[in-house]
Amino acid sequence: MAHPIAPNSWHRNREGLGIWEGRGKVVATGVGTSPTARRWDERPETSLGALTIIAIRKAIEDAGISPDEIDGIVLTPESTTGVSNDPMSPAPEGFDQVFKMVDFPQAGITRGDIDWILLNMPELKNVEFKMNGPVCMSVALTTAAEAVSRGLTKTCLVVRGWHNLAGRYYVGQGAAALNTSSGPGKYGGIWGMPACATTAMIFEEYCNKYGKSHEMMAPFVVEERRNGLMNPDGFYTQHRPEMITVDDYLSGRWIAKPANIYDNDLPIQAALAVIFTTPELAAHHAQKPVYILNHAQTRPELQGVTPTLAEWEASSDKMGRMLYEGAGIGPEDLSFEQMYDGFTLFHQFHLEGLRFASRGEKRGYALDLYQTDISIEGPNPVSPSGGNSGNGRTRWWHHRDCILQLQGRSPSQIKRKAEYGVSGAHMPNFCDALIWGAGPD
């Protein structure tokens, strides 16, 4: 549990830093994805920990290397945006007969843990470098990129799992069921906004400013589901293979208008492991190396209880400028974009910050772009993985698919040549993102 996180100096969070020192020195090769489930059925073999082990073994196998070669792990310990048990609350009966336990029983259940993984994967016997990438897989990826580029680990697993306990979380549960409110949530929480309402609020401000409407989101949501349903590892492919239509989307029940139920992503159980290494070592890996050309970070400087359109635009603009500066490329070089989409209504803020497929427009053009060909067959593939909306909530489908696209083996492979991609999560003013390349330059 108590592993270090990256020092702040590793995060590229301002402009003027020039080309990233690690550019072209770090590659991704193997990718391993666990099966998905809607909720945990309390069996040890379907737990977050079990899924994590499956994902790691698949990634190692995919890379065609020996587990001995793994000398580092960067892991995101948080495993949900919903309910997490207290770390000390007991594991269900039988869990400790299947898995070795660490000093807190929720390891492998509602929290990922490097020590738990190493204890239960004896084949990983050479791991020396251990670091946590808190909150988001994006942070784990940027942390691992720095670690490999700095020579701290040569062959590093980057891991994140998600759990989803039985029951409906966060509706009328815990603090929200009380008639008093404590903690920082009280400044805004007592107005009763569901999670998607902040995004809906800024989306509404966006629509009001640029003359757009919620209906204009439909082609994006439909395209994302189409892309997701091409992915054999996705939740919808595995459990709910029905295609969504424009009418379906527009018939969705409002949660916080203008966000409807289909603008929200579905919590699931799933785990991903990716292997980062050096270009030299990647020469003997089974998969084509995908180069990390830069990474960058934004964090909010909030003055109010909730961010505003101006903050989201300024922050995502800055992200775009930082990413291009450090990678030495421009928006016109991107073969596709895979910024975060959970909630669907904020995807366009990321997209516009990157000026993806812009014809000179700066802001307010993304919903118009959604009315053009944004499919994987077209000139401007938007979210070819299908993201959370097309695959279930993980905050990593889009990262994963950057690697697969640039290796030329994505289940939703774009038709145009895949040379450069971008992925990042999660909020437009709280984001860690990477530029990926098919080659070192």
């Binding site: 929200a176 009380l178 007592i190 906004m193 401000e205 003055q303």
Partner: protein, 137 residues
């Protein structure tokens, strides 16, 4: 609207005490000449811990709006659907507060309209909280 009653702490007691006196006060950083809300131990921009509480005019503008149909807060579920608007303070439009805009029908929240603060008593403890209504209404 039957809001949850916020429980004050040492940090925000001056804010909630002022609410109970029908006054709106906001943390202010002298060196930055900048307001911030929610309350923090220090200025989010410069780290200055010596923040003061300043009374503001209680005037603002509606920045944006949503209509909540599926609230996580149990006490508000019977009120669904209801408005939530973001309010930008006149003194510093980057400082945002929330409002149910009592009296304004859902789907009829006028973005950009002027609003003024009122204070609403929350049922559980009687603690007052800032609310907003259309100016002159």
């Amino acid at each position: 609207m039957p809001k949850q009653s916020p429980v004050p702490t040492e940090l925000d007691q001056p804010f909630y005490d002022a609410c109970n006196e029908d006054r709106l006060v906001v943390q202010h950083c002298g060196p930055c000449n900048r307001f911030q809300f929610p309350p923090r131990m220090m200025c989010a921009r410069c780290g200055n811990p010596g923040l003061t509480w300043r009374q503001v005019s209680g005037r603002g503008r509606i920045k944006s709006r949503v209509v909540v149909y599926d609230s996580p807060v149990s006490t508000l579920v019977p009120e669904q659907p209801f408005n939530v608007a973001t309010i930008a303070l006149d003194e510093e439009p980057d400082v945002i507060m929330l409002s149910h805009l009592p009296g304004v029908p859902v789907d009829q929240v006028p973005i950009g309209a002027a609003v003024e603060v009122i204070f609403e008593t929350t049922p559980a403890t009687g603690q007052k909280v800032p609310e907003w209504r259309l100016a002159g209404s």
